[in-house]
């Protein structure tokens, strides 16, 4: 990676994936890694093998930690569970390896030895009606980037969606990121966040809930969900029906949250209907946008929405928005 032209970065630190956005010759580029790891007993042969095939790993005492996209494969081989350094959008305080794993994953995506990057990283909004539990998460990431010598700033995840997708309305509208741990919402007016909040449900909630009903492993549910789940079609098995139920639960929770928040908050006077953009991995199944829009239309929504649209590249939207923020401010 030629950092001479890519020193400004956008980083989406998500519960499920970490996505790095950069710009080269005017084009946006992305790298992505699963935010997961698995511990493997240390041996020199294993270490050499991992190095030879280019698998990201780090050594911790008597163990090797396989990081990122390859972690599930190793977990399968070893009959172990993959571990997740983050939960519900923030660093998992119960996982002692959380910070070193996230740091290792990010360092593996941004080569050392080049010019120190400047970056905007995504941070979730506080949960609606909940206690703000983000200080530890954001402060820890800031400290981590500081130790690496990187200049960093945080950007609200929903606002990043607005920056990425709503240039046609002068960055006025509603950005929603359906993530693995949380759904983040921001309503922005002329690029300014008027309100932002999160809903503590996302892809992990769907997986775990469906697994509890079907008796399958959550990992298998996740794979099915990502590979061939869709709405409004001819579903072939119970799993698809169960997934639909929990997807609807997430959709209803987000819409109810928006309705509640927008009703209780004194918002800017919007003279025109505003667009709503959906992004994130949990919003990717075909038919999701349609399902969401129909649910939205069936409620007495306090903001007039001109259209509900999918982000151009839902898996990279937050990272792109963070990069745009970085490019315009740093």
């Amino acid at each position: 990676m030629a950092l001479e032209t890519r020193t400004v970065l956008g980083l989406d630190v998500g519960t499920s994936r970490i996505v790095l956005a950069s710009q080269s010759n005017g084009a946006f580029q992305y790298e992505s890694m699963l935010n997961a790891f698995v511990k493997v007993p240390y041996s020199k042969m294993t270490e050499n093998s991992l190095r030879r095939v280019g698998v990201s790993f780090t050594t911790r005492g008597e163990e090797l930690m396989v990081l990122g996209d390859e972690a599930p494969q190793f977990a399968d081989l070893l009959g172990a569970e993959t571990a997740r350094p983050m939960t519900l959008g923030v660093l998992n305080p119960g996982e002692v390896e959380a910070v070193p794993v996230v740091r290792s994953i990010i360092e593996s995506m941004v080569p050392v030895g080049e010019r120190k990057p400047k970056l905007y990283f995504s941070v979730p909004a506080a949960p609606l009606n909940g206690e703000e539990a983000l200080t530890y998460h954001e402060a820890t990431l800031r400290q981590m980037f500081g130790e690496l010598g990187w200049e960093c700033r945080g950007i609200n995840e929903g606002l990043a969606v607005v920056y990425s997708e709503l240039e046609d309305t002068n960055y006025t509208g509603i950005g929603v990121s359906f993530g693995g741990g949380l759904c983040n919402v921001a309503l922005a007016y002329l690029s300014m966040p008027a309100i932002s909040f999160s809903i503590p449900k996302g892809g992990d909630f769907i997986d775990a809930s469906a697994a509890a009903v079907t008796g399958d492993l959550a990992n298998r549910i996740r794979i099915t969900k990502e590979q061939d789940f869709h709405f409004n079609g001819h579903y072939v098995d119970q799993l698809h029906q169960v997934l639909t139920v929990y997807y609807d639960d997430v959709i209803q929770a987000v819409i109810a949250g928006m309705k509640d928040a927008f009703t209780r908050t004194k918002l800017p006077k919007l003279t025109k209907a505003v667009p709503m953009v959906l992004s994130g991995g949990t919003a990717c199944p075909p038919g999701f946008r349609d399902r969401f829009e129909k649910a939205l239309k069936s409620t007495d929504f306090p903001v007039v929405v001109s259209e509900v649209r999918m982000a151009k590249d839902p898996l990279h939207t937050t990272a792109k928005g963070a990069l745009i923020a970085a490019l315009t401010e740093m």
């Binding site: 909004a125 002329l190 349609d290 239309k297």
Partner: protein, 350 residues
């Protein structure tokens, strides 16, 4: 300010603190932004409605029957609250609203030219509301009525469709027939004479109050009363406007994604609309105009979501697209690019 990045830089510099924190409510900054940033708003150009766009003349046309026979349906009675028709149809008209006056563009398949000023509806798009649905039984009568009232009120405020058929099979006029309703947006359809882009103005929208159940057949999601009412309404509208049977299609068949340039942005009645019960041929077998006429693509997800009834039409669409490209001496990619440009210009004129 044409460059969006420059615009964002300007807006943020006008009012943004150096660090944006993940706070829940920020109520004052938008006012500053409004005061200082409004000058950066760029006016969106628009096309005059009289503009005519030259389009490529299609070399061949998909064979679609124009030899339709329309039933003779007439209005029997009319009051301030309802209309009744000779086929048993009754339309509740109290509370119907107006939308923008109908005026649409179309592409003449014979000359390849785009014309403006169409005022007579030429087709029907069937939708589902995907709203909250109560079990259809006696014990839930109160819920059924309340939900029906709620969705009717919403779609009238939103001017979403021309007609809504509630769970009891009552037909409600939502938007006046002579006006446009916002039911189809970015969409396309065609018959052998004309092609249409943006069907809000050219097609009537009929919505069934129902939520699609995965894997369910239409007979189990729509109530018998809804299906009967939809058939009567379809007959009346086809009779009144001489609507071709091939122009009675579902939202899933006509919608196009602005983002991906593929068909199937919406999935209403994706694969289980009861065409036969409407007195219509199985129009799922028709090629998709968004693909062959306007050059848009489709993907595996669309194929999966729609199901086997739509696949013959999809296959035909690809063949027709290639045939048209060959006839014009173009590569498929070049044909698609040109056709999409025509669609976009028609949408802008609209």
């Amino acid at each position: 300010m044409a460059d969006p990045m420059e615009r964002l830089r300007y807006l943020r510099a006008a009012s943004v603190p150096t660090v944006i924190r993940p706070v829940r409510v920020i109520q004052r900054r938008w006012k500053i932004a409004a005061a200082t940033g409004v000058m950066a708003i760029v006016a969106i150009p628009y096309y005059q409605s009289s503009m005519v766009v030259e389009a490529s003349k299609p070399a061949v046309t998909v064979q679609r029957s124009l030899q339709d026979q329309w039933p003779d349906i007439w209005m029997v009675d009319q009051s301030e609250t309802a209309e009744s028709y000779s086929n048993g149809l009754r339309i509740e008209i109290e509370g119907a609203v107006h939308g923008p006056r109908r005026s649409y563009v179309w592409l003449d398949q014979a000359t390849g030219k785009v014309h403006t000023g169409g005022t007579v509806p030429v087709g029907i798009v069937y939708h589902t509301t995907e709203s909250h649905i109560a079990p259809f039984d006696r014990a839930h009568n109160g819920d059924l009525k309340a939900l029906g009232r709620g969705i009717l009120s919403y779609v009238r405020d939103d001017r979403s469709y021309h007609y809504l058929i509630d769970r009891f099979g009552r037909v409600h006029r939502v938007v006046a027939e002579q006006d446009a309703a916002g039911h189809a947006g970015y969409s396309a359809w065609a018959d052998s004479r004309r092609a249409y882009a943006g069907l809000n103005h050219s097609f009537l929208g009929i919505a069934f109050e129902l939520a699609t159940e995965p894997g369910a057949e239409s007979s189990s999601v729509a109530t018998p009363a809804q299906i009967r009412a939809a058939r009567e309404l379809t007959e009346m509208l086809r009779s009144r406007y001489q609507i071709l049977a091939v122009n009675c299609v579902t939202h899933a068949q006509v919608s196009i994604s602005k983002i991906t340039d593929r068909v199937g942005d919406h999935a209403d009645w994706a694969g289980n609309f009861p065409f036969a019960e409407m007195g219509l041929p199985d129009n799922y077998g028709l090629p998709i105009a968004g693909i062959y006429q306007f050059g848009f693509g489709w993907d595996h997800n669309y194929r999966t979501t729609t199901g086997a009834r739509v696949w013959p039409g999809l296959a035909l669409s690809g063949v027709e697209q290639q045939t048209r490209a060959r006839a014009q001496g173009l590569s498929v990619a070049a044909y698609r690019k040109n056709a999409q440009q025509v669609f976009k210009e028609m949408m802008e004129i609209q």
